[in-house]
Amino acid sequence: MIDIDNLKAAAQAGQTTFPPDWPGANPWLHALVYIVAIIAFTLIMILAFIYAERRGVARFQLRLGPNRAGPEGVLQAVADLVKLLLKEDIVPTLADKIVHLLAPVVATFPAMMIFAVVPLWGSGALLSDLDVGTLYVLAISSFGVLGVFMAGWASSNKYALISAMRGVAQMVSYEIPLVMALLSVVIMAGTLSLNGIVDNQDIPYLLLQPLAAVIYFLAMSAEVNRSPFDLLEAESEIIAGYHTEYSGMKFALFYVAEYGHAVAGMAIFATFFLSGWKGPVLPPILWLAIKMLIAFFISFWIRATLPRLRVDQLMGLGWKALLPLAVINVVITSIEVLFWPDGLTMWILVPVNFVIAAALVYIWSRTVSLRGGRVEIRTRTEIKTA
């Protein structure tokens, strides 16, 4: 039950945040409160990301972005949602009905499940402090592939099928650099639990592990299908990719799922590399939100600027460039952690790691090329005129 005396003592001591094992020893109450908090946080951050992206990308393009629905356009996502709710739900005749129905659901819930192990407003403020938090995160984030593939397959549409195949190839091939990048952080922090990683982060791991941060950012962009890896929904080629045949609320769920994955990815980035909820003055949950928004700003700045990669170049980047760099980074980090003399401050590692990262990137850019060329077609096929 709720421990009133403890709360009063904490309030008198001037604590502004909830103590970590609030609201008490009852596990069901703890779970209920945290589930509500996670869902609320995720949905609010999704709305904030949608708003930030639409206004931000518009400002990059010298225009204003939606500013009429609600004050300065904050209710635009709500307006879109209401519109999509009222639309007709069209399912193609030849589609696989059950799979077609389940695909958006399977795509959405991993995004929220990841937050079960992310510390939100303090050390120990998570739904459950798993000792293998990182493993849980990686396993759940691989789930997202399944939703994409189900949608593409069940739509009985060739465009969707192409997109689903591309999606599977892309997401599978970027899992390994993602894992390796997080592995180097885990080695440096010494624990797999996310709570422990944030606690041990006196210096943000962005400075101590620049190469891992960049690799994680790129691999996460590929997992989440954000530019420059957004071939799945390449609007200029395959119109809408795997969600071409979706309308109404299912499409709204896919839209939410896409931003939900982005939210989850940015939250992991903020937790592993930008030291999570730590920060002066403001409440910690606000710091987490601010760090996620900063990472997202870089993501949509890249989206507004760069064209997208072709599918074979994308695979080349993943296998030939990111994977070896990530593995080398793990080796170097292990050597550093093993042989670092006790008592020496970690700040010396920062310039050392930056120099190593720059040297590796330079060597790689000279030796590796994303060559993808023309395929020789020797036989002619006859097109059946139907």
Binding site: R59, Q61, L62, R63, T305, Y362, S369
Partner: protein, 185 residues
């Protein structure tokens, strides 16, 4: 990635040759978009802010001066589509008058050949463009709604006297120009 050789080029540096470190091209691109972020938006919020159209703007309606029109039908003969219908006859007191003067603005392409060919400056093209109607038959402009009113003003297309009285056009050059020096050619 091979570098290219150009024979007659006035570019300052060859782009492929100056890319030695991977990512400099991308970083340059991102700096340009950041400059875009920090500058003002160039769009106007339409119904609240409207731009002034040019003095010779060919709007979606016509302005007709019955005092000047003689019913010669030169405009009807020069229309490529055949949109103008003119019927003349004897009116009251046996005087010659133009009974019917209709232009079908639904079929019109607003080329202005009729305005150009009128010998008496009786027909002008209008300046308004917000003239959507619910029925196609409402788009036919008859004698009654072609006269100049407060709302229906003529534009200066082929009418230099009217052109002198019109306000200046809003130019994007003036709203979003830059006073930089010339770049390399």
């Amino acid at each position: 990635m091979k570098s290219e050789q150009e024979q007659k080029s006035k570019q300052p540096k060859e782009p492929a040759q100056q890319r030695r470190i991977l990512g400099t091209g991308i970083v340059k691109g991102m700096k340009t978009t950041m400059k875009g972020l920090l500058s003002k938006a160039i769009t106007t919020s339409y119904p609240e802010q409207k731009l002034v159209v040019s003095k010779r703007f060919r709007g979606n309606e016509f302005v007709w001066y019955p005092g000047k029109c003689t019913g010669c039908a030169t405009c009807a003969k020069s229309c490529p589509q055949g949109n103008i219908e003119i019927v003349t006859g004897r009116g009251k007191d046996n005087k010659y008058e133009v009974e019917k003067f209709e232009i079908d603005t639904g079929r019109c392409v607003f080329c202005g050949l009729c305005v150009e060919s009128c010998p008496y400056d009786a027909l002008c093209i209008g300046r308004d463009y917000e003239l959507a109607q619910f029925r196609r038959s409402d788009l036919v402009q008859g004698k009654d709604n072609m006269v100049e009113t407060e709302r229906r003003k003529p534009s200066g297309y082929f009418r230099p006297k009217i052109e002198k009285t019109l306000p200046a056009q809003t130019l994007l050059l003036e709203r979003a120009g830059r006073k930089k020096k010339r770049g390399a050619e």
